[in-house]
Symmetry: C2
């Protein structure tokens, strides 16, 4: 079965986020008020061939830790979205 | 009220994704088989002060279109996650 997986990679709390800070500084000039705590991250969407959702999640988790994120400064959150026949 | 918002920015279908393609090429060397259709995107998490979730969603949608994404090549998906007293 083909599992559609989403991995969200975000900087850990307390790690400086220059991209988010830059976006936040640009907001008043564009007329946005009341928007704060901007944090930027990465998103990966891919398909995993696996027997069940648990196997797909395990593969995606390992991939997220080894290739898609830097576990020292980033958190990776895995979401198995849908299942389709291969 | 403080609304926690997530904006997912992904490349539109058919737009070339060199980052995703590079990740996909690296997978066999790391022992990952059966992973394909890798697409890379961006994720933004921020707080919006708004009277209700609809107002927060409208602000985030406008922000996503004007600052966080390039609507010509990217889709932006807005999710209002939780509400907290300001």
């Amino acid at each position: 079965m083909n599992h559609s997986v989403i991995v969200e990679v975000t900087l850990r709390r307390g790690i400086a986020d220059p991209q988010g800070a830059t976006i936040e500084r640009a907001l008043p000039a564009l007329g946005f008020t009341g928007v704060h705590s901007m944090r930027a991250g990465k998103l990966f969407r891919f398909d995993v061939e696996a027997a069940d959702a648990e196997e797909a999640r395990a593969t995606a988790q390992s991939l997220a830790q080894r290739l898609l994120s830097n576990p020292v400064i980033e958190d990776a959150h895995v979401r198995v979205e849908e299942v389709r026949p291969a």
